[in-house]
């Protein structure tokens, strides 16, 4: 009997051994749950943030640089051991209760074994805590790059950084961002995010249960060094940009200046502007609501996002279309008695000589001339009806980039308003409308909205006699062979080069004997066109479009000053001052135009209704 029992015991030993080995096989080999858990709790990935690419202006002046911010992190699972909590709280200048709340929150929000305890710690506190960090097991710093700025300028164009939001985290096809990372939210920071951000590095550590790093994981085989972002050379001239901002100070409006031969943006101003420093990671929290609540919309980038009826600045385009389409010739004259009659309706014109040539119609901004041109165009025999004629008209316009996004490398571009015939069919009924219904389009009013960028692009297209390069602010990207391809190809308008000559002559007359003659700049031939845009909500908008020098255009510019009055009074002087500054540079003497400059700078044209709600701290240093 005992021999048998002895065998049973042998069997029991073998059986239990076998069961244990199988159980071990299950948890060690089959089930990878434990591997994941172990990595989650004993492996910490520490992110090494690269230097974000620096940003320079076209003359290689540094505009944007990096400013480290420190996040105090805590290891999770949190098992704080022997920490002098009181001393720690004192260093961080927080209450004990706050400490407990944050710790509990950190525990809930943990990701990859770590969690933020305090964000954006100042240099001063960082230095103090860093010195004694070894006393506080489980706490460590992560350093990220915030932005800072050499100039209080170009805020809209540069944009700003922010924390990656939930949608962006979800939308990324290849996981790069983690919660808490920064990315470009607006402006070039956003558009060139992938080039500027660089590549994050990673270091893996074992941590013990107190969160103290105990050595590198797999001898650092998984570690990756951070790769700094590419520096970005912008096409803007920061001096010109600053000058323009000075001129537009205390005004609502915009300036866009383009180099016609390349499409490079020389200056892009939206006013009111703000100090970009106030919108970096460390400061934005304090200023964001202030900016949002300001009725003058200081963070709205008018230059690329605000559509304005172009008003009379549209007339040169209208003339080009008329010639090209055969509605008028270069020599067409129309008589003007100071108004254009449309049945019972009268469209007023300004005082000028009775018979108007194409050139004079531009110089004196004759509405009648363009009402006639538009009427002819809509009634051309080659079109079977007004719809067809209108669609042809708007197709011409689209070839100038009107009604479409041009594709500038700044976020927030708006395509503006340009309706097709179907819109009017819907409004009036198909076949039940003609030129008379839409006559105001001929002088840039009505259902037409152009951004200052689009107006400047028209100036550049006329300067180039028929083509434009897609406007862009990038001049050179470090470590990249070239700037994006689309900025290197010519976009042709549907107008033949020859047809530009009379229009350019007319625009030149504007600054010699026309609406902008009073602010002509000696020594520089400027082709321009003023515009006074009817504004149903207040005073007229002052607009101007120009390029110079006429014989070899170096700068094309558009200026809009909201609720300011005549184009010749504000927009044109500002444009001329900028042209002069850009073309003459520092050789500009103690300007004879000092008075004009001073008047522009000192004038406060912010409508009275907004003045009380503006907050100046957004703008200053």
């Amino acid at each position: 009997m005992n021999k048998l029992r002895s065998k049973y015991i042998y069997f029991a030993v073998v059986l239990i051994g076998f069961i244990y080995i199988l159980r071990l096989f299950q948890i060690q080999v089959l089930d990878d749950k434990y591997v994941n858990i172990a990595e989650r709790i004993s492996l910490r990935k520490q992110t090494v943030y690269p230097q974000r690419g620096l940003i320079f202006d076209r003359n290689k002046k540094l505009i944007v640089y990096n400013d480290p911010v420190y996040d105090l992190m805590v290891s999770v699972p949190i098992r704080l051991k022997g920490i002098d909590t009181a001393a720690f709280c004192q260093l961080l200048q927080i209450e004990r209760e706050e400490f407990d709340t944050r710790l509990a929150k950190a525990k809930r929000a943990s990701y990859r074994g770590k969690s933020v305890f305090q964000k954006n710690i100042t240099n001063l506190i960082y230095a103090r805590v860093q010195e004694r960090l070894f006393e506080f097991n489980g706490f460590f710093f992560e350093i990220r790059q915030d932005r800072n700025y050499k100039y209080n300028s170009a805020a809209h164009l540069l944009g700003y950084l922010g924390e990656v939001n939930r949608n962006e985290l979800k939308a990324q096809s290849e996981v790069y961002y983690e919660q808490g990372d920064f990315n470009g939210k607006k402006g070039v920071e956003r558009f060139y995010e992938n080039e500027l951000r660089g590549v994050k590095g990673e270091e893996y550590f074992y941590v013990d249960k107190f969160g103290v790093a105990r050595g590198s994981y797999k001898e650092g085989k998984l570690d990756r060094e951070a790769i700094d972002g590419n520096n970005l050379l912008l096409s803007i001239d920061i001096a010109l940009q600053q000058y323009g901002e000075k001129l537009l100070d205390n005004k609502m409006g915009s300036v866009v200046a383009i180099e016609p031969q390349t499409g490079e943006i020389l200056a892009l101003i939206s006013s009111p502007f703000y100090n970009p420093e106030k919108f970096n990671i460390q400061n934005r929290g304090k200023f964001y609501n202030m900016a949002i609540n300001d009725p003058t919309k200081p963070i709205f980038n008018r230059a690329v996002s605000a559509p304005y009826p172009p008003g009379s600045t549209f007339k040169p385009v209208m003339a080009l279309l008329g010639i090209e389409d055969g509605a008028i010739s270069k020599n067409t004259h129309f008589g003007c008695q100071g108004y254009y009659r449309l049945g019972r309706r009268i469209i007023k014109c300004h005082g000028h000589t009775f018979s108007t040539s194409l050139q004079r119609s531009i110089a004196s901004s004759c509405n009648t001339y363009y009402c006639n041109t538009f009427k002819n165009m809509m009634q051309l025999e080659k079109y079977k009806n007004t719809e067809a004629a209108y669609n042809s008209w708007q197709t011409y316009l689209r070839s100038f980039g009107i009604g479409n996004k041009l594709g500038i490398d700044i976020s927030g571009e708006y395509r503006g308003w340009l309706k097709d015939a179907a819109f009017y069919d819907k409004m009036h009924g198909a076949g039940r409308w003609n030129y008379a219904r839409i006559i105001s389009l001929s002088f840039g009013q009505g259902e037409l909205g152009l951004t200052p960028l689009q107006i400047a692009n028209i100036a550049a297209s006329i300067a180039n006699k028929g083509y434009y390069y897609t406007p862009h602010v990038v001049r050179q990207l470090e470590n990249m062979e070239s700037i994006p391809e689309k900025y290197l190809v010519k976009n042709y308008t549907m107008i033949s080069p020859d047809n530009f000559d009379p229009v350019i002559e007319g625009m030149q007359e504007v600054t010699i004997s026309g609406t902008a003659a009073h602010i002509a700049i000696p020594g520089i031939n400027i082709a321009g066109k003023t515009g006074t845009v009817q504004n149903p909500h207040g005073k007229n908008h002052s607009a101007y479009m120009a390029f110079a020098p006429v014989e070899n255009p170096k700068i094309a510019i558009a200026v809009v000053v909201e609720e300011a009055g005549y184009g010749s009074a504000w927009a044109a002087p500002i444009a001329h001052l900028m042209i002069e500054r850009y073309l003459m540079g520092d050789s500009i003497g103690p300007s004879a135009r000092e008075y004009l400059e001073k008047k522009m700078i000192d004038s406060d044209l912010i409508p009275y209704k907004y003045k009380s709600s503006r907050n100046k701290s957004l703008y200053g240093k």
Binding site: S6, I9, V13, V29, K33, Y34, G215
Partner: protein
């Protein structure tokens, strides 16, 4: 009575292999970056204890072959006295008063008590007129086991006390009716069900079952009385389990049992150790993270990782390969020891060696089972592997004594299976 001393080479190899695995594991479990060599620190100490054991082994092998059998009861009495002494002058470590401090060395008498008890059991069972049917003998054998168990429970070390249950395997081997084991199993089931549902619901359920049973068999009057008796015993047992559980066990002991039975989910308190231990072993994968590379071990996530939870280090750094090797070595060693016991010609030696095998078996099942969540958290060491002077010394002396008994078997009188 002169005999050649021929030590069993296979057992010796397994013994040394397990010990070597143990020293390496202790070294890794206590390793700090840039720290000392294997000869220093805790692994060095562990090695030293093996050295001391080897020296004692030499003495054991020089002794007369019948020395142990002759002085058997003296060993038992002396070690029981030590257990009493520790209650008086012992020092508290981790809430258990089971240590005697002599200078800088702490000795844990409960580790040696198994050795002494094995002697007493062997002497009792091998006496010529011993019978499982005699009440006096049963009381004697029960007393021999219960005395050290009681004393060790008084020290507050329930885990070490439970080890004495391994003698039941020897008793079974020596003829105790298996009904005891069946009853034991039923008792365990009642125990678990009681803790799961409380004795009130359990008893209620049993009574309902009984009534259903009675409804089918009420014509058979003969069954009524015995089944009523069984019902009474079951209910009484359940009630006393509840009572003991609520009133005798301490809170942390209750919790340990509940966690093991999955009655409460607890990954922070008592369950923390088991959870971390499973994570460490499970994350080792098939071939492990490599010697000294266990991130979980190195992070000190597992408490007592060089003592009771030493198997985590093996599982994490050696993976399934080394955990299987460890289990395999132990199973081979245990089987070999049983074999040595079975081939002994003297009943005394047979029972002694089988006691050793059973005790190691129990330790391995419980210790490894605990680290992989198959057993409750009972703080007993993994023989020869867990760090600890008393444990190492006691097991080494135990094993060497058994090997000495086997080596000198040639001179013994033939005694077949009783």
């Amino acid at each position: 009575m002169e005999s050649k001393s021929r030590i069993d080479i296979l057992s010796l190899i397994l013994f040394v292999a397990i010990a070597a695995l143990g020293v390496a594991s202790v070294y890794s479990a206590t390793y700090e970056l840039g720290a000392e060599s294997i000869l220093e620190g805790r692994s060095g100490k562990q090695l030293m204890w093996f050295g001391v054991s080897a020296a004692i082994g030499v003495i054991i092998f020089l002794l007369n072959a019948n020395f142990f059998e002759f002085f058997s009861m003296y060993f038992y009495v002396a070690l029981m006295l030590l257990l009493v002494v520790v209650l008086g002058i012992g020092s508290d470590i981790n809430g258990a008063r089971s240590w005697i401090k002599i200078g800088s060395i702490s000795i844990q008498p409960s580790e040696f008590a198994k050795y002494g008890t094995a002697f007493a059991v062997s002497t009792l069972l091998s006496s010529i007129d011993f019978s499982w049917n005699k009440g006096k003998d049963l009381i004697k054998i029960a007393a021999v086991i219960l005395l050290p168990m009681g004393l060790i429970i008084l020290q507050g070390d329930t885990g070490s006390a439970l080890v004495f249950l391994s003698f039941f395997l020897v008793f079974y081997r020596e003829g105790l009716t298996p009904a005891i084991i069946v009853i034991g199993l039923v008792a365990v089931i009642i125990f678990v069900l009681t803790l799961m549902f409380t004795s009130m619901y359990f008893s209620g359920g049993v009574v309902v079952l009984f009534l259903i049973f009675y409804a089918f068999t009420y014509s058979n009057k003969k069954l009524l009385i015995p089944s009523l008796r069984i019902l009474g015993i079951v209910v009484l047992f359940s009630l006393s389990v509840q009572f003991l559980f609520d009133n005798v066990l301490q809170k942390h002991q209750q919790k340990r049992i509940q966690v093991t039975l999955n009655l409460i989910e607890d990954n922070q308190g008592a369950g923390y150790n088991v959870n971390q231990s499973k994570i460490a072993i499970g994350s080792g994968g098939a071939s492990g993270k490599g010697f000294l590379n266990g991130s979980h071990t190195k992070g000190n996530f597992i408490p007592e990782q060089e003592t009771d939870f030493i198997f985590c280090t093996i599982g994490e750094e050696g993976g399934w390969v080394y955990s299987t090797l460890t289990i395999g070595l132990f199973m081979a060693f245990i089987l070999r020891l049983y074999h040595l016991g079975n081939r002994a010609k003297k009943k005394f030696k047979r029972i002694f060696i089988c006691s050793l095998a059973s005790i190691i078996f129990f330790h391995v099942i419980v210790n490894v089972g605990m680290t992989i969540g198959l057993m409750p958290v009972i703080g007993i060491p993994l023989p020869l592997i867990s760090y600890g002077g008393s444990s190492v010394l006691a097991f080494c002396i135990f094993i060497l004594t058994a090997l000495k008994m086997d080596a000198s078997r040639d001179g013994d009188l033939v005694s077949t299976y009783a």
